[in-house]
């Protein structure tokens, strides 16, 4: 992880790039927005694939930032490189140019829960800690506490096969939370679930993230899901992808949750705006329409 933190202030366009960690508190005082400090800063990311048939430009000058406590969604037509972008942010894939500045540990959630069927639930939760050689007694205790807190303690010695899809996804989340990430990347994390379970699981996971005060960056192709969960939505265009628009989603309600947001009259307004925007980019929007 990069040690230095960078803060981007909305108020001043002149950049104050290279601020160090110690300056955060100072910045907090200066900045009066709701989310004062930037946890993730994506700067002019470009990605070009090399293949036998030539070059493919996937991402072009992607830039946005994520502030502490925010829930950001990235949405765009299928095949636009959304998942690639997340992989680059997590350091799983190389970028062609640009810079990613992360302040804190990254957690990552994939489409499938990927629980290891030969391990018990508890052992599955410890996997991340084991890999990072951080399976100290203290961290193990923390993992157990998380299991307890989210109603999985009694299943800790069961195997993944014995759990329902929703519970498995929750275990996958706890496995990630056990390494105490500051920011969570969700890569289509709910799209492997059936429609009903999906609604329940998004509600569930949203609440856990808020409870644990974790910043989230989610990639999805589901407009409703993006609107119901996010504070801001980054809309990407077709390949080569650029940031077309960043929408601020504000339902003006305290303690929002995805299901409550779905019932809000503003929901369909947001939906129409974003849908129309995406429709311009073709097929992906068409799929959404069928889903509706």
């Amino acid at each position: 992880m990069e040690a230095n933190t960078q803060l981007q202030k909305k108020s001043s366009t002149k950049n104050k790039d290279a601020e160090k960690n110690k300056n955060i508190s100072k910045a907090l005082e200066n900045n009066k927005s709701n989310f004062p400090d930037v946890v993730l800063d994506v700067k002019n990311i470009c990605k070009t694939y090399q293949s036998k048939n030539g070059e493919i430009e996937a991402l072009k000058n992607i830039k946005f930032n994520v502030k502490k406590g925010e829930y950001i969604s990235i949405i765009g037509p299928s095949g636009c490189g959304k998942s690639t972008l997340l992989s680059i942010i997590a350091g799983l894939e190389d970028k062609t140019s640009g810079e990613v500045i992360v302040n804190g540990k990254i957690g990552y959630m994939l489409q499938k829960d990927n629980l290891l069927e030969w391990r018990t639930i508890y052992k599955n939760v410890l996997l991340g800690l084991e890999i990072q050689k951080a399976n100290t007694d203290e961290n193990k205790k923390y993992a157990l506490e998380l299991l307890k807190k989210y109603g999985l303690y009694e299943f800790k010695d069961k195997y993944p096969m014995q759990l329902s899809g929703g519970m498995r996804q929750r275990v996958a989340l706890i496995r990630t939370l056990a390494i105490r990430p500051k920011i969570l990347l969700l890569d289509e994390a709910f799209s492997a679930l059936d429609a009903q379970t999906r609604l329940m699981v998004t509600e569930d996971i949203y609440k856990i993230l808020k409870e644990e005060n974790i910043t989230a960056l989610m990639v999805t192709h589901d407009i409703s899901e993006a609107i119901s969960m996010s504070d801001r939505i980054v809309v990407l265009s077709q390949r080569p992808s650029t940031v077309k628009n960043i929408y601020t989603i504000d339902f003006e309600i305290q303690n929002r949750s995805p299901l409550i947001c779905r019932e809000n009259p503003k929901f369909s307004e947001y939906f129409n705006i974003i849908w129309k925007e995406l429709e311009k980019y073709g097929k992906a929007a068409e799929k959404q329409k069928n889903q509706k």
Binding site: L110, N114, L127, I131, Q196, R262, S268
Partner: protein, 288 residues
Amino acid sequence: MEKQQKNKKIKSNKLEHKLINETTQETPSISENRKKYLKKVKIRKISIFVTQISILIIFIVAWELLARYGILDSFITSQPSRILNTFLNLSNNDLLNHLRITLIETLTGFSLGTILGVVIAIILWWSPFISKVSEPFLVVLNSLPKIALGPVIIIWVGAGMPAIIVMALAISLIVTILDILNGLINTDKEKIKMAETFNANKLQILTKIVIPANISTLFNTLKVNIGLSLVGVISGEFLVSKGGLGYLIVYGGQVFKLDLVMTSVIILGIVAALMYEVIEILRKIFVK
């Protein structure tokens, strides 16, 4: 919109029901129909077993009677009672010693084949370059009838036990490498990516994901290997050797001691079945 939401809620209730049913499955209340069904399953299982045993008994009895009344020439076909006699006089025929030799050779060839095969498969998994380079060689070696290498092996390692073990190894090794490698390569990519999201290095991916995911592949390969190792050992014993069941079979055939040949074949069958069973038991312990 509202209607949809309601529908969804109803459906989600149903889903919860489903979940509850799934979790309570461990202690099912037994209904009449269930009892009937279970009984039917049990009867079918028993009748299959009884039929199998009967076929075996009828075969043996018919063989014995046909030989006893001279319809079959027991000089050529042998006879169950004579086989049993040979079997009971194991020590006279030195059968036990031959069995011991074959077992040692088989187990050595089998263990070497498995260990070397797994190690080489892991190396090939680790380095896609080496894997690509060795691919055509492996394909040719795999389709080559290894028995053709017999004379070469004898010249290289000398007639005797080492040659037989090498023979068993030659027959089982390539298949092991290819089977295990295939399993390793086809490990769920998403699971590997999951480990990578925790910054796992390649060794950790190997030990925490790839190897545990392939335990059942390993046991399937072991089962195939036991058979292949026996093939290697017996054909090796046909070629060289002064001991072992393969030697006994060849010797018995040459001096027309069909009792000895048949007894050896039956013992070989029992040995193969027992080894298979041991692996199956191990598999049940290790694979959940």
